[in-house]
């Protein structure tokens, strides 16, 4: 049962990602990608990592995709200023994907009723996860966080560089 669900979710995720890259409308693309992340979160849950599933939703859907949306909004692309798919293509794929993710979620709950209240025993809890992350893999975590810091500083530097040049051009 779990493996069938896994392949269905995998297909949903691939379809959502494919729609995301082929979709001409940026906001629709973001919504498809969000659906892909939800399917991915369910897959992590099926693999026995509910914490990763939660992080997937919190970090990718709740923060990174919101930042993507922010960029799209700031570019001010109004809904009709970009090509639209004809009629049914606009809502049928999205609805199908959302419906299949929801059915899979319900199936997971029914297949494993204890998941709704306590979480099965073989799942890794937040405590063990944290201990592994900052005990056994502490060095790797620190290296990755340094990488992220470098990226943030680099992005800050690039972002700072542009406006100053534009101001100089304005003055001349």
């Amino acid at each position: 049962m779990a493996s069938i669900l896994f392949y269905i979710l995998g297909f949903v995720m691939l379809a959502a990602t494919l729609l995301c890259v082929t979709c001409r409308n940026p906001v629709h693309a973001v919504i498809y990608l969000v659906k892909g992340f939800f399917a991915l979160a369910l897959m992590f849950y099926l693999l026995g990592a509910p914490l990763i599933a939660a992080w997937e939703v919190i970090v990718y859907v709740g923060a990174i995709m919101v930042l993507f949306l922010f960029i799209i909004m700031v570019l001010e692309l109004a809904p009709r200023e970009q090509p639209q798919e004809p009629g049914w293509q606009r809502w049928v794929p999205g609805l199908l994907l959302a419906a299949s993710i929801m059915i899979c979620t319900l199936l997971i709950i029914f297949q494993d009723p204890s998941a709704a209240s306590h979480g099965p025993n073989h799942f890794v809890g937040p405590r063990e996860f944290g201990e592994a992350l900052f005990g056994k893999y502490a060095l790797a975590v620190e290296v990755v966080s340094f990488q992220l810091l470098f990226a943030a500083v680099g992005a800050y530097y690039l972002g700072r560089y542009q406006p100053r040049r534009r101001n100089e051009e304005d003055q001349t």
Partner: protein, 331 residues
Amino acid sequence: MSDLLLNLALILVKLGLIFAVILSMAAYLVLAERKILGRMQLRHGPNRLGPFGLIQPVADVIKLITKEDFVPDQSDKWLFLFAPGLTALTALLSFVVVPFSPPLAIFGRELPMVVCDLNIGLLYFLGISSLGVYGVVIGGWASNSKYSLLGAIRSLGQLLSYELSMGLALIPVVLTAKSFSLTDIVMSQADWPNLVRHPLAFLIFLVSIAAESKRTPFDMPEAENEIVGGFHTEYSGMRFGLFFVGEYINLVILGSMLTVLFLGGWHGPLLPPIVWFSLKVLFVAFCFIWARGTMPRLRYDQLMHLGWKVLIPLALLNLLVTAAVLLALKG
């Protein structure tokens, strides 16, 4: 199998009860806000329908349902229709993990007074509250109106910035409770509420949830004298109603989270736990209405300054000091 069905029935009953209670609470909060704001401005507020205007919410709902459901030309129709539901739904979903009373013993079974006591309850709350942004932003963008888009951008920036300080302010609470489960967090406050143990985290969380709920003094996304109605400018009828009710549901949820995390949840002398819980939530809601009656709106740059340059560094410092103290006490 019968155990599964019983559990399922229990969960459905709890969900139904919560749905009914939260929706009626949200409807009456609207009335309470109008009455209290009226009193603060030396008016009476709505008092025509029923005693003290108590039937006003029913009249409002009838009005909203019978109004024309308007979809602007040139808008992204499907997303426009879908967005208000998303806002109200994500607001309701957070309540699944909120414990409002200690477990009751009925028929020899222990019945937890929470729909689902997740061991990552706090993370679930943070995740769901970050999903709440989508309804507002998609609604504002799909309306294809300048004011709606401005409102959507403002709420995006605001919610994104304050989510960080909100999450950081909660880590000291998790550190003392040693658990992400909200029930354990309430249990850890049996002697002292976290308000006494983590006053700075409480203040940061309070300011952050005021910003998250998009209420005065942080109501830039719908500042009516700058950008008409912000993201819900183009909405009418019950779809506007869903945005509106979603905001008040959010107020109840954030009030409950403040109660659970900092005010000691259901703990309190004399009265039964559930009464204490409701009293605390209503008190928080009253304080938010009070703030709306007394405080002016911030400017957007002041909002960003407060979020990024004051609250986040303070929250990080608070986290560092709390962790160091806890480590020293342990060692």
